[in-house]
Symmetry: C2
Subunit: 767 residues, 2 copies
Amino acid sequence: MTNLWKVSTDTFVNEKESIMRMGNVYQIANGYMGYRGTFDEFGPDELVGITIAGIFDRVGDSWREPVNAPNGGYTRLTLDGSEISALTSTVKKHAQNLNLENAVFNRETIYEANGKTVTVNSTRFLSADKPNLGVIKFSLTTDKAAKVKISTGIDCNIWDLNGKHLVNLKLEQNEGALLVHAVTNELGKKVAVAEVVDASFGKATHEVKDNRNLHVIEVDTEAGKTYTFYKYFAVFTENDHVASVNEAAVKAVIEAKNAGYEKCLSNHNAEWAKKWAYCDVKIDGDDEAQQALRYSIFQLLIVAPVNGSANSIPARALSGQVYKGAIFWDTEMFMFPFFLYTYPEKAVELMRYRIKTLDGARRKAKTESIGFEGAFYAWESQDDGDDACTYFNIGDPNTGRDLRTHFRDKQVHISGDVAIAMWEYFKLTGDDSLLLEGGAEVILECARFYFSYAYFQKNKNRYEILDVIGPDEYHERVNNNAFTNMVTKATFEIANATVAYLKEKHPAAFTTLVSKINIEKELPLFVEAEKLLYVPQPNKEGVIEQFDAYFKLRETTIKELKAQMIHPNEYLGAGQGLAVPTKIIKQADVVMMLNMFKDRYPKEIKKANWEYYEPRTEHGSSLSACAYAMVATEFGNIDFAYDYFMRTAKIDIEAKYKVYVGTIFMGGSHPAANGGAWMTAVFGFGGVQSTAKNVVINPRLYKKWNSLQFNMIYKGDRFKVTIGQDKVEVIADAANKASHTFVISGQSLDTAPGKTLSHAAGAKSLA
Amino acid sequence: MTNLWKVSTDTFVNEKESIMRMGNVYQIANGYMGYRGTFDEFGPDELVGITIAGIFDRVGDSWREPVNAPNGGYTRLTLDGSEISALTSTVKKHAQNLNLENAVFNRETIYEANGKTVTVNSTRFLSADKPNLGVIKFSLTTDKAAKVKISTGIDCNIWDLNGKHLVNLKLEQNEGALLVHAVTNELGKKVAVAEVVDASFGKATHEVKDNRNLHVIEVDTEAGKTYTFYKYFAVFTENDHVASVNEAAVKAVIEAKNAGYEKCLSNHNAEWAKKWAYCDVKIDGDDEAQQALRYSIFQLLIVAPVNGSANSIPARALSGQVYKGAIFWDTEMFMFPFFLYTYPEKAVELMRYRIKTLDGARRKAKTESIGFEGAFYAWESQDDGDDACTYFNIGDPNTGRDLRTHFRDKQVHISGDVAIAMWEYFKLTGDDSLLLEGGAEVILECARFYFSYAYFQKNKNRYEILDVIGPDEYHERVNNNAFTNMVTKATFEIANATVAYLKEKHPAAFTTLVSKINIEKELPLFVEAEKLLYVPQPNKEGVIEQFDAYFKLRETTIKELKAQMIHPNEYLGAGQGLAVPTKIIKQADVVMMLNMFKDRYPKEIKKANWEYYEPRTEHGSSLSACAYAMVATEFGNIDFAYDYFMRTAKIDIEAKYKVYVGTIFMGGSHPAANGGAWMTAVFGFGGVQSTAKNVVINPRLYKKWNSLQFNMIYKGDRFKVTIGQDKVEVIADAANKASHTFVISGQSLDTAPGKTLSHAAGAKSLA
């Protein structure tokens, strides 16, 4: 049987694309930084990347993107004077694995040169308890006595998409540690990497060569004897708010060396044990699904922001600089629910990030197009909340020209997505501190933005939301997109509810806020807008038109459309894209809306829209499949849901995704799909939905599954839920503070602390 | 000195493109039909075309376009058995001319074959008094005795862009006349062409061969002797409302033959003398300008609709099927003023055409996009007022794909253009019959359309017009286009004025109309909309932003832009066109607005906008230069105005225009530019502006001109105006019914019938 806690391979393919994809699959991260799954001896050409969360830089007119740190994990050997590298040497044998339990990457590679072999075994992790720290255990064994030179240290040759981001780079030695420090090109932010080696053999010297700061250890090896050394590296930036990033980095590695490898690892493991204790989902009876889902959850856990950082998770997480390291709606709509249900202290960081960047959203509202009021969140948000999305965000391989896309200026649903997540946090945790610490301000500013964006149609006596892009990005600048209008309406509802709540519970804070943002006169308008905002309704057949006049677009098939492509990477949207005049959509749009607002629509409407839109959906986004899967579970198409669940859950473990859109490289991991896999399991097959009042569970397990087990947090209390084919069991943690209502398959049950509910009506009765 | 009444050449270039361009320059027409300036022996490959006004047909999915008639002017010779044709024979000498005085085309060509020459002299005209009739005098002379066979008759091989439009084609003989009759493919409309020959030599037989219905006349010529015959052809369609198109056609040619060539010609000439008596403009001191302007006026006169036809003038007039023979805003904004000032009975037809097609405009409003109220006139209007414009109106030579353009669905200013012309007719003629016969209904339905199209912005307390294309078609789907908003505002003003006028003067008609179109409740909304409609205002520098956020577009130069073109015919607009993200505009837009609404803006604003927009204008439309020229005269840039006037006036006589936009052939004549040339002369250099109250003349003659003389009609009375460098003379016709006020260079003067005003302050004092 496969080890469902490990991802492994015994193959190394010496090709650029394979190395790129493996770098994604075997990446490790700890929220502070990511480290791609590359070999110790690799460099920028093999896309070695240590991507730091929350620090960005821009060079010239190029895209602003996250900063990659110099590689403190670098080690290269020579064997009897010959360079050893998987790229140029003979690899006799290779095996590598990633332990999902604790995010430890290990590989063992046997290289051959000059008739001798050297076996390298390298284990590395980014500390879960000390987020600035990386630790590596490196062993080598030659089959015959040999002269081995180990060059290990910090490689300052950095893989950048739009670098060079680090300037004034200094390579130094400091108290036995190597130190590299620099400042970012744009804002002059300090960055330091320190590294120290603990080796009990050989003769060590210091060398700076080829932009690398190195220890050189020379050793005459005995045949068959294993030589092990330990590396500790630390990354600090000015965002860490330490007195000196240089000193902090050096201190961190020396402390780690003094503590020793085993201690570092055990502290790290203890943190990981806590994570999994609450975040794992167990699928009994389907190992493939189990491993894919666990890997998806793992991907979310490794990139969850460091507590107190007010960072969020970029669309390609920490797997590199793709998509500018920017935060999209993906985070709120696809990742946030996982954290909200299992790891609220991380959900808080995601929301704090939006509070932190509220001023950026205000700046964007003021300056975008004709200027608007309130908060228009960035489509691609970085550290300051200004929009990293360009107006020409995709290249056209047919003409070599950049395409004007309207992602940045028209994808206005982002503000509502933020407001909805903010309110969802309050609703499901019962914790109003976030509202008081800026969340309410975010919500009101989002409503204010929509009001300034909305138009009133006098003949129809209604507000409309014009000229937007919904989730289906193939159709730009559409009017009354059902998804966007619904999100807008929800934002007005939430703003009005926020006002009512604060007035009642926190009148002083309410007065302060209203005066701070001078919004009193506008509040009645939000009430009117909630009432008079137009949301497209189902037609006779139950289908909701995606946007005004969508039904008039040309009917075609995806196959027919693709047959017209001139270039295989040609983008199907933007201005004159092939999909634009047709009904073919990029991803779930109306169906995504039905999933987000599932309470408001009956099963038949979900079914009608699902059946209408699914064949017209190209699934050109990794966000699409899980939305269709979740809605499919609602009306009983469980087999379909399972296929799309698997497609979503396996995206990163299989790494078969496309890596180009137009001329833009977009390879990397897919945390939104990872979150979508978790949602499909728990919300879809588990049928779980938490509301302000209660937790509803209407299970519809996939037939192959014996049971689905997960933990969830509701209003601060913890539950272990097991859904079998014939029964649902809910164990309320003994430490819970209150009793809550679970409505299981229609029956209201009470979950007092420490109590176990067992409800016989299980999945079968409802599937 | 050149004969300023003739256009001539002694060159024949045997190349397709030259033949195409010459076909335009030497075309004749009489409002009922056009006949391209091609040789008697030419066929469809040389773009021989007899395009009939007001009858359209569609084949399959192709564009609907005007019907070309079988060519009743066809004649081909053989000389001693050898085919004679300018395409295949040696042309020893050739000369051709077009007489602008009477629209008679003549050519003399000496062909050589088998060591002999034959001189052909052919003269043709389309009767100005009998619009169905064409007349040809054909002479031939051989230098040596020879056997000549003349095949003359009706060629049914028709040049069509998207044919074949005529089906059930029958080639017959009837009472000595040849008859071809058929029905149109789409609507089954009957079309007949008859032809009769009057030849007093040779032996005649009848032959039907190669889809031609022919008389064959064989003659053994004597050397040097001239053989002359006359051809009469007539075209009738079901639109003529005759009992039988076949009989009417045959009757017409027999009657013409009986009357004889000279009689036909003298009747024709008499009509032409009347036209020129009132429509000519004399420029003293500038022959080049004189000829170009006269040629422009000639172009308008030949295509002026037949009285009572309720036809209008297509964008390429009757020079072929280009632009689908459709009527655009060009007619109202660029041609209509010429007719309104000089030939009101033709201006009436243009307006009747819009009344006739009101139902089409209503259909379009209802069905376009999400559906609107009122009348949304077709961007490309044919016989029924439905829109001939497609959603994919331009091909992209880079990809071979059709481009989605929004000309049809977003160029909403067309309705206002119609309403403005309708009102202008009433204002300047004082004749309210057109209003009562449907004009008022048109106006109110246009206002109704705009109200249903408009949105109200609550924060700004104003109506806005969103998502349109202004005259600058390179920028599609813009908001608050200054031109469109102003036209919309004017439409509401006109609607409100119409209501006030009818209420006062024709209360019963008003009541009937209001009840017929059920508009009473909406009338107060039009008053509110007039008041609260947003029209972009000048900024600090006096510049009016062309549309929302235009100022944020990329600054570039036309040269820089064109350097990026991949294909020379590449369209610069639509979706991803090169001009779209830049400030480069296709044609006068704000400046066109300033020209149309010149009363509302001071000179400094005109200057500021002219100076801002002119360098950013690509002049990709023949409508552009004259707008810039006219506004330039207003603030004293007379030299520039002259250059652009000449560019406009010479467009068709020089025929150097581009003939492709994208992959679309658009060669043909430019009646809008012809009208623009007249406007630039009279309104620009003449400084004439008629208002409801008076006629204002603020002359600013070009320095080279000694004087500018023209006739004009105001409130049904006639005036001859002569503007010299130092004086203005206005002669009121003795038959005038009333006295009118002329404000010349600021001085109010009275023009009693028969009186001559002479005002010493002329151009110089104002230039």
